[in-house]
């Protein structure tokens, strides 16, 4: 197994600021927009973006939720391990809201497909956008593309993108791991 650094802490920070600016351009005061981080790893991206928007770009209020998609996945009973759920925390209605789904890595698109199904349990959004920190091109199983992408990566199938966060793993760094 070998690994190389795809993005350093500094590069991740620059990308997050750029993504925050792109969100700001399209959603201005976030009055009709909600951000939803997909559990488990998308919540770190969502939290960082929210922090930047609130503290550095002085947005007054942002509704931020966390969505668990375990019970909506299409690979139930297919893998070796039981799918373990994590916490869903959405304390607002998504009815008629613009929803930005946020995840760390977009790979096959199946997680996003499950997230779109799960989202229906919380109402009918006006529109849904997708933001991913890493977009693994040419590996999609479904016709799903991000509206906002941090970095596009051409990784082959036996390679894995591993995103690490300071609050979880002690440092911000993204590796491309060859298994």
């Amino acid at each position: 197994m070998s690994q190389k650094v795809l993005l350093s802490s500094k590069e991740i920070n620059i990308i997050l600021h750029r993504l925050a600016c792109q969100l700001l351009e399209n959603h201005v005061d976030f009055k009709d927009t909600v951000l939803i981080g997909i559990q488990p790893r998308g919540i770190f991206v969502a939290q960082r973006l929210t922090k930047i928007l609130l503290e550095e770009y002085k947005v007054k209020h942002i509704d931020l939720g966390f969505l668990d998609i375990t019970f909506y996945r299409d690979d139930f009973r297919r893998g070796e391990k039981t799918l373990e759920a994590t916490k869903t925390k959405i304390n607002f209605l998504v009815e008629d809201k613009k929803v930005v789904l946020i995840d760390d890595v977009l790979y096959t698109g199946r997680s996003i497909n499950a997230a779109l199904t799960a989202l229906q349990s919380f109402g009918r959004p006006k529109e849904v956008e997708l933001l991913t920190l890493i977009d693994r091109r040419f590996s999609r199983h479904l016709p799903i593309q991000p509206n906002y992408r941090g970095r596009q990566v051409d990784a082959i199938n036996n390679e894995k993108v591993k995103v690490m966060w300071e609050e979880n793993e002690g440092e911000d760094i993204i590796y491309l791991i060859n298994r």
Partner: protein, 309 residues
């Protein structure tokens, strides 16, 4: 640990502590799901479950059926009173006929202890015991412990007294196994005639005086007097039972603490507990019913995940 150690839920006796924790954590997530406006998830859309009830039950059957439907499983309901069992068909034949219709899981209630264990050895499906005679009722015990954990934060170290007909109660036996496994202290209380002789071997204390039992406990689990199982007189009259082992508001108020009141239902109001106790803030009887659906969803989900494609 992300997988149950068993392929069937035949009794609490066959589970370990990690299994119970996994079921509780999964039930926490399902509890969040069933409190949404859309209470359904698509996880089990390719699973078919047969509810086979050889004994009458309303709330357990409804709770299982709701849990199955909220997981998007296909559900078959089979009631022995309108079936070929009346014509002399054996249990294995009945279940195998149902399984031939490509059923993946069987939820079974049966009047004979061990019926689920017997069935699990002879048919190729995942079996959930929904009550077998006076043996076990595992999902009831799980939802009882889950409700205690929800109200008191933890089960470990808590003092729980089970009051009533211990001898005929599958709820009592499963509860004793579940509570002991989680490190709770358990006592039973009831007429001496309704306390089984083997109770000491389960590591459970016996208290004949209800007041003393209530003074000791954090939780009182009041069992129903099962008139249908009392073929001989175990106590003189219901009135006398109520006087000695019934809980009323006056008794609770005279204690210098607030204990949690539970009852697996259906309640004989005025016998095991009075209405003002059943409907009081101390009572978590309706929480038990709500938690029953989440616990059963968790058990079904975790067992179904072991049926590989």
């Amino acid at each position: 640990m992300s997988e149950l150690s068993v392929n069937h839920l035949l009794g609490i006796k066959y589970l370990n502590e990690s299994d119970i924790q996994l079921i509780f954590e999964t039930a926490d997530h399902f509890k969040e799901v069933i409190n949404r406006s859309i209470k359904k998830v698509p996880s089990l859309r390719d699973i078919t479950i047969a509810n086979i009830f050889f004994e009458n039950s309303t709330r357990t059957k409804l709770s299982f059926e709701l849990a199955e439907k909220r997981l998007s499983a296909d559900v078959l309901n089979f009631s022995a009173s309108q079936s070929s069992v009346k014509k002399g068909e054996t249990l294995i034949d009945t279940v195998n006929n149902i399984l031939s219709m490509k059923v993946d899981m069987v939820v079974m209630r049966h009047p004979n202890p061990g019926a689920g264990i017997f069935l699990s050895k002879h048919v190729n499906a995942s079996i959930i015991n929904a009550g077998d005679g006076a043996h076990e009722h595992p999902t009831q015990a799980l939802l009882d412990s889950f409700s205690i954990r929800e109200r008191l934060g933890d089960v470990t170290g808590k003092n729980v007294v089970i009051v009533g007909d211990i001898l005929h109660s599958r709820v009592a036996l499963s509860n004793i196994f579940a509570l002991k496994l989680q490190g709770a202290n358990v006592k039973v209380c009831g007429p001496k005639t309704l306390i089984p002789k083997y109770i000491d071997s389960l590591g459970v204390g016996v208290e004949m005086n209800l007041r003393k039992a209530l003074e000791w406990c954090d939780v009182a689990n009041m069992l129903r007097i099962q008139n249908e199982r009392l073929d001989i007189s175990y106590f003189p009259t219901t009135r006398e039972y109520t006087q000695q082992f019934g809980v009323n508001k006056k008794l609770l108020d005279s204690l210098d603490k607030e204990i949690v009141i539970m009852h697996p239902g259906p309640i004989n109001r005025g016998v095991e507990i009075t209405s003002d106790v059943a409907d009081s803030k101390q009572s978590i009887i309706l929480n038990q019913v709500e938690n029953g659906v989440a616990i059963r969803m968790a058990v079904i989900y975790l067992l179904a995940s072991k049926i590989k494609k």
